[in-house]
């Protein structure tokens, strides 16, 4: 093989990749903002919600029924009842912290109800409804661990988090000396904690309660060291749907449905 051929093949391959990239970007821009959110939902007569399937208490797939259950799921159903008049006219699509924004942007789902914190960064990419749940970041450790608060996360300690979560970004700022390892989902992060890959797992207390619920030999420490107001995310620019969902949120808070759901999943735990 000559050097000339080497360059030819290399350059050709790289050009091919760039062309692929160009096609992809074009698709992204044309697929965009023109569709009207609410009309689309009324046309297909159902709302497609992105929910988590791996987060106990909020969105967890019940393996015996095959259905997803939790606080987020019930909220989504209650909202559907207000928006299109029937709580069964919903479709649930599994999302993770990593996939929820891209899925929303490419129109695969209408709204995300998936323990999603409202942040300034995310507001640039998606639109949020009003806050529907107030969580705060905390730490999960094995009972009897030396780690009692965020100050104990010194150099040499390993903190586990989930890719794409606000907690992963927060912890890098609040405990800059600790090493942060990030996983695909909470199940894997919790398994990693159990198998000793790290000293603490960090995310919103709401999610951590679900893990304690599953395995009581773990406990929360350090209190809430951030505020994590959860919002329902929709595609950027879809203000119609945001308004509609906010109205629905207010209705279910006023008529007691919200408290019922809250008591069912969170308060009684």
């Amino acid at each position: 093989m000559s050097l000339k051929k080497f360059w030819k093949v290399s350059i050709l391959s790289i050009i091919a990749v760039f062309m692929l990239a160009a096609c992809g970007s074009k698709e992204e821009t044309t697929g965009g903002s023109s569709e009207k959110g609410l009309e689309k939902i009324k046309d297909k007569d159902k709302i497609v919600f992105g929910v988590k399937n791996d987060t106990r208490l909020f969105g967890l797939k019940n393996t015996s029924t095959g259905k997803v259950e939790g606080f987020d799921v019930d909220i989504a159903k209650a909202l559907a009842k207000e928006v299109i008049g029937d709580e069964n006219k919903v479709e649930f699509v599994e999302v993770t912290s990593k996939t929820r924004v891209p899925l929303l942007q490419n129109g695969k789902i209408d709204a995300v109800v998936a323990t999603m914190t409202i942040t300034e960064e995310r507001k640039k990419e998606v639109d949020f409804t009003d806050v529907y749940f107030e969580a705060g970041q905390s730490l999960l450790v094995k009972k009897g661990s030396k780690i009692k608060s965020i100050d104990d996360l010194k150099a040499g300690t390993k903190v586990l988090a989930v890719k794409g979560s606000t907690s992963a970004i927060n912890i890098a700022e609040k405990a800059p000396d600790a090493e942060v390892l990030q996983y695909e989902n909470y199940a894997e992060a919790f398994t990693a904690l159990k198998s000793g890959q790290g000293d603490a797992l960090t995310t919103d207390d709401a999610i951590l309660y679900g893990m304690v619920d599953e395995d009581p030999s773990y406990e929360l420490v350090g209190g809430q060291f951030t505020e994590e107001p959860y919002g329902i995310a929709v595609k950027k620019g879809n203000t119609e749907l945001v308004d509609e969902l906010n109205k629905a949120l207010k209705t279910i808070k006023d008529n007691g449905t919200y408290d019922e759901i809250l008591n069912k999943w969170i308060k009684n735990k």
Binding site: M1, K5, F6, V9, S10, S13, I14, V17, F18, L20, A21, A22, G24, S25, E28, S97, K98, V101, P102, R122, K124, E125, K163, G164, I169, L181, Q182, Y183, E184, E188, T191, A192, S195, G196, Q197
Partner: protein, 211 residues
């Protein structure tokens, strides 16, 4: 395409790139030697060795690499980098063993018989007569396995291994740019795999000429 993504996150891309190269080199050397040993076991004139070799290949080749990585990471509780490199080595070795075995078997039986009847031991005949011929047959499939190995190293992304794919996941999640981030990753992989593939092609031609 948004080149500012590449520029702003260059340190993460480079960190991942270097880790990917490290893992690939470790697993490449490891899987070559392990694969060669397994291949020899599978064709050795001693039955129990055959059985062990066959069991290894059939067992390892038929489970997903991801599960092997999980076994070492969650099961054996090894750090991500070590668990990933070891899983890649063990997994790739099964395929390399098969490539080497096929290469050796492609050399006519008469070669070995003639070597043995001229007084060489089995080991000598293997080393001096069969293997030098087999290596030429083995190079192309071996090259394919090494290229697969480099790409398979992306599995470390799910066990916090810190390589290219892991870094790309983090970059795309911070910037909310998905497509461009992974296109740059593809280019980084090409930087490793194209020279590898051309190197194998060169070796193949060079060895053919020398015979």
């Amino acid at each position: 395409m948004d080149f500012s993504i590449l520029a702003e996150n260059m340190d993460m891309y480079l960190e991942g790139f270097l880790k990917t190269i490290q893992i690939s080199l470790l697993a490449l050397v490891g899987s070559f030697f392990l694969g060669a040993v397994i291949a020899v076991m599978r064709i050795a004139p001693f039955k129990p060795l055959n059985w062990i070799g066959t069991a290894y290949v059939e067992f390892v080749r038929n489970i997903p690499l991801l599960i092997i990585a999980f076994l070492f990471y969650y099961g054996a509780k090894m750090p991500g980098f070590a668990a990933g490199s070891l899983a890649l080595t063990i997994y790739t070795a099964a395929f390399i063993a098969e490539a080497i075995r096929a290469g050796i078997l492609s050399i006519h039986k008469g070669q070995m018989e003639a070597a043995r009847s001229s007084g060489l031991t089995y080991g000598q005949a293997m080393r001096m007569i069969v293997l030098p011929q087999a290596i030429k047959v083995v190079i192309p499939p071996l090259g394919n396995q090494f290229i697969n190995l480099v790409k398979n190293s992306s599995i470390l992304a799910v066990i916090a291994g810190g390589e290219l794919m892991y870094q790309a996941d983090l970059i795309s999640l911070h910037t909310f740019v998905v497509f461009d981030v992974y296109i740059f990753v593809a280019i980084f992989y090409l930087v490793i795999t194209i020279p590898l593939s051309l190197g194998v092609g060169y070796l193949e031609k060079h060895l053919a000429k020398s015979s």
